[in-house]
């Protein structure tokens, strides 16, 4: 850890400067409105050439000078070994570079038996740096060691979505601080204006010329500490935003003047579009679908925990789910099928008859979408599994039990939020990328051409 003069926390190389707004922070643009295909191609190129931009010439010269200071310019037997995470291609570049640099310093290379010195160069590394070590042996002398270190670059790759097709995910936004929800406020072919809810603020970003610029930001005032596994929901109403967090509800007036109140007011349980009358930002457009027969429903969220306490408003006859993490509803045989991912790890079904409790291999995030595909309604659920990766899958209910209708779409880390967007036909899924540590918000859409 090096001392850094004059700037706060510049000792944290992982902190990513905000190229979006120019203000201190860690947000960075995601898709920037770029077509997905271009992004994928760029990502493939980045992955295929992970260190193409690295200039190794400076450390090559440093190490070569140190070697020559010991060996002189007599004939040298040179060996290379790569013990580091440097790829084969770069390893060869470095080997060739060192070879050339030593030659320009007058070193001649020969077989070991004719050499006046034998040098083994090892590419190694520690937590923060590449370490190149030269072990130099001369007859009648102890082995000398010379070395240089080169700071390791931050990880810059990104996971690729190689899973086709029934579910399509598009990266909306990525930042280091947790993302609780994202709402798309305006879009053409791709989103052009979005709002991002994080634990401390709502930020509105606009895409201009392929770059995301912060348009507005408003802090969320809260007197108490947030619970761990903080959850939140951002609702884009026709002319304002509403943010729901544990024990806090915020409403924006014009120009994102945010008014937050400590309250136990219930959270909207379903996207407005699922009821067929989505009061979303006018520029996004409405879903244009008929009433679904599913009434807008709300549920009370525990102010100090990570779950809904089980109380619905208005109450639904014969539906008492107990504490739950998430809920979904679909129109089903002239009735409504409610699903609740309970805190007991089970899925609780209510379809007008007795409650059914089913142990599925689902995680704790479920939601529903209303689309023009398949049966018209799908439930999206993440999977039970490890803590390193996650996936979403679409299900339909031809009868009483769920049937998978899509391949799983993978995420680069555990899904921390899953909310249906206001129009009701797409969802926003937030995952924490286990490689980069950043939070990534995706729009997930059901594609019916499969």
């Amino acid at each position: 850890m090096s001392a850094v003069s004059g700037s706060y926390n510049l000792g944290i190389p992982n902190a990513i400067s905000n190229s979006v707004s120019g203000v201190p922070g860690t947000a960075r643009p995601a898709c920037s409105g770029m077509p997905v295909l271009v992004l994928v191609l760029v990502s493939i190129w980045i992955l295929a050439t992970p260190a193409a931009a690295v200039d190794w010439s400076v450390p090559e010269q440093q190490l070569a000078r140190k070697i020559v200071a010991v060996t002189g310019s007599g004939p040298m037997a040179l060996q290379f070994e790569n013990r580091s995470s440097i790829g084969r291609r770069d390893s060869e570049i470095i080997e060739n570079g060192l070879h050339s640099t030593l030659e320009t310093m007058g070193v001649r290379f020969s077989e070991a038996e004719h050499a006046s010195s034998s040098v083994t160069i090892t590419l190694s590394e520690n937590l923060t740096s590449y370490v190149w070590v030269a072990q130099i042996t001369k007859p009648g002398a102890e082995t000398a060691v010379a070395m240089v270190s080169i700071p390791r670059p931050a990880w810059t790759g990104s996971a690729l979505d190689s899973v086709p097709l029934s579910l399509r995910k598009t990266l909306l936004w990525s930042q280091v601080s947790p993302i609780l929800d994202v709402a798309v406020l305006e879009e053409n072919a791709t989103p052009t204006r979005i709002a991002v809810l994080d634990p401390e603020k709502i930020s509105v970003y606009r895409s201009q010329n392929g770059r995301w610029l912060e348009e507005q930001s408003a802090g969320i005032v809260h007197a108490n500490s947030w619970p761990r596994d903080l959850r939140g929901r951002l609702v884009a109403a026709r002319d304002h935003l509403e943010a729901y967090l544990p024990g806090i509800v915020c409403h924006s007036g014009g120009s994102l003047n945010l008014s937050c109140n400590e309250t136990d007011d219930p959270w909207p349980l379903l996207a407005a579009g699922l009821s067929g009358n989505a009061p979303v930002f006018a520029s996004v457009g409405s879903s244009g679908v008929a009433s679904s027969g599913i009434a807008p429903e709300q549920a009370f969220f525990s102010s100090a925990r990570n779950f809904f306490n089980g109380t619905l408003t208005p109450a639904i006859r014969n539906v008492s789910p107990g504490k739950f993490y998430s809920a979904a509803a679909i129109a089903h045989d002239k009735s409504v099928l409610w699903l609740f991912a309970g805190v007991d790890g089970q899925v609780h079904f209510f379809d007008g008859g007795p409650e059914r409790i089913v142990h599925l291999s689902w995680g704790s995030d479920v939601t529903s979408v209303r689309t023009s595909c398949g049966a018209g309604w799908q439930v999206l659920a993440d999977r039970a599994g490890d803590d390193v990766s996650d996936s979403l899958r679409a299900y339909e209910f031809p009868d009483r039990d769920p049937v998978a209708v899509s391949a799983p779409v993978d995420f680069p880390g555990p899904i921390s939020a899953l909310w249906t967007e206001a129009r009701g036909d797409t969802t926003v899924a937030v995952a924490k990328n286990t490689e980069t540590g950043s939070y990534e918000a995706y729009r997930v859409a059901v594609a019916c051409n499969q």
């Binding site: 992982n14 520690n126 937590l127 923060t128 947030w226 761990r228 100090a304 805190v343 039970a384 390193v388």
Partner: protein
């Protein structure tokens, strides 16, 4: 949802086998975690220098207390109780203290309380409070200050007479020194209340007893001896191991008094068959080493030879005019130490050296386990030197070559013969979720939860 991912994967090996096939859910609140550990610290004060450093002690400290900064898996400083900092040339550091943080006794964390805690832990430091900041000044550039502040011994504690208070996720409910510790969830923790209601820790339990407790369902999280890790993973239990960061070494009590003495010590170093000891006694766990710092920390560990050279050992012995007749001390509480000491004695005898193992007090050299305190190589080396009984080194610079030179100089004294770097390993029940190891080998249980618990 599996919200808070396993951290620290970059330099830890995670061996998980046959996890129960149950639904993964968001973290659940509730439940009491039962932990067993070998260490039996008599004090919870992070700055108590009478209590030896250990992975267990660090784990306890970090459940109750927090540091100003921490070191992430890449070895970089990240904010904890200090939300930002700046320095002028490394001689004057200013740390801005995080707002809205409270000690467990209900009092707020202030710059004054932080400064008092740091002065208590480091009497030689010049630490002052300045409004919402703490200033650390020294005559020399403190290149390692961030790494030092991340050490658990520099965790911020409020000391009122005999009562300790921290800002960590758990507060002390009951403390029987060296025996048991009961912790309760801190409702007002600035990071949010932990998911577990409490943690009960039983101390001074041998590895065998701990494994029995796990198998009988009396413990949820235990330590695993290095030589047992392979068997435990093969049995399908959840096993988590750190990077190899415990140094097992032979440490002489005094400097070599003559060139002959130094040659004999060098001969001892060449006689030890680390490879076979690792394969047989340690069951393949850990890494043979000739250096104090592990290779993943320094990047140059491979430069130091680890293979035995009996001919060289005998040659060195034959060049001396004195005989080696040493007593090798070891801690008899761990049976592995006795096996290792006996094996080292056999190797020494093959080289013509006399080495008598003893678990008693009087010994010329000791088989020591030194938990490396930091992933920062400079801090780790300085603290290892203190454990070995050597004075702090004074480096001319801070480059990788300076580090190598400093370590080489320490080894040249003949006071220490590094043998192995061992990981620290833990086994847990399968329904303990989302716990991880910090880079310093301690548990991170702030985000852990028990799947069977009901909110």
């Amino acid at each position: 949802m599996k919200h808070i991912a396993w951290q620290w994967l970059a330099i830890s090996s995670v061996l998980i086998a046959a996890l129960a096939a149950s639904a993964e859910t968001r973290p659940q609140y509730g439940g009491t975690l039962h932990v067993s550990m070998l260490d039996a610290p008599l004090s919870l004060d992070p700055a108590d220098r009478a209590t030896p450093d250990s992975f267990g002690r660090r784990s306890l400290t970090e459940l109750i207390f927090e540091t100003l900064v921490s070191v992430d898996k890449s070895g970089r400083a990240t904010p904890v109780l200090a939300d930002s900092w700046q320095t002028r040339g490394g001689r004057r550091w200013q740390f801005r203290i995080r707002h809205n943080v409270w000690f467990h006794d209900g009092s707020p964390l202030t710059a004054e309380s932080v400064a008092a805690s740091l002065r208590f832990a480091n009497p030689a430091w010049n630490v002052t409070a300045d409004r919402d900041s703490v200033i650390v000044e020294s005559d020399l550039a403190e290149q390692n200050l961030l790494a030092d502040l991340a050490l658990s011994r520099n965790a911020i504690a409020k000391r009122d007479s005999d009562k300790l208070s921290g800002t960590g996720p758990f507060h002390i409910v009951d403390w029987q020194p060296g025996k048991e510790l009961a912790l309760g969830a801190e409702e007002n923790c600035w990071r949010g209340r932990p998911f577990l209601d409490g943690i009960e820790i039983e101390m001074g339990r041998g590895f065998h007893d701990q494994m029995t407790a796990l198998q009988l369902g009396k413990a949820d999280l235990i330590e695993v001896a290095p030589e047992q890790t392979r068997r435990v993973s093969q049995q399908g239990q959840v096993l988590v191991s750190s990077a190899p960061m415990e140094l097992l070494a032979l440490v002489f009590g005094q400097d070599g008094s003559s060139p002959d003495e130094k040659s004999l010590r060098e001969a001892l170093g060449w006689s030890v068959e680390r490879g076979s000891m690792r394969d047989v006694l340690l069951q393949g766990t850990g890494q043979a080493t000739g250096s104090i710092l592990p290779g993943w920390m320094s990047g140059y560990g491979f430069v130091f030879p680890t293979t035995a050279d009996l001919a060289r050992a005998r040659s060195l012995r034959d060049q001396t005019h004195v005989s080696a007749n040493w007593k090798l001390g070891y801690d008899g509480s761990d049976p592995m130490n006795r096996l290792l000491a006996e094996r080292i004695s056999l190797n020494a005898r093959d080289a013509g050296l006399s080495l008598q193992p003893t678990s008693g007090g009087n010994a010329d050299l000791r088989l020591m386990r030194i938990p490396l305190a930091s992933t920062d190589p400079w801090s780790a080396l300085q603290i290892a030197l203190a454990e070995i009984g050597l004075p702090p080194m004074e480096s001319k610079g801070h480059s990788i070559e300076d580090l190598y030179a400093a370590e080489t100089a320490v080894l040249a004294t003949g006071r220490v013969i590094p043998l192995f770097h061992l990981p620290v390993s833990y086994a847990s029940v399968s329904n303990l979720k989302n716990w991880s190891l910090r880079p310093d080998g301690s548990w991170n249980l702030g985000d852990a939860w028990l799947e069977s618990a009901r909110p």
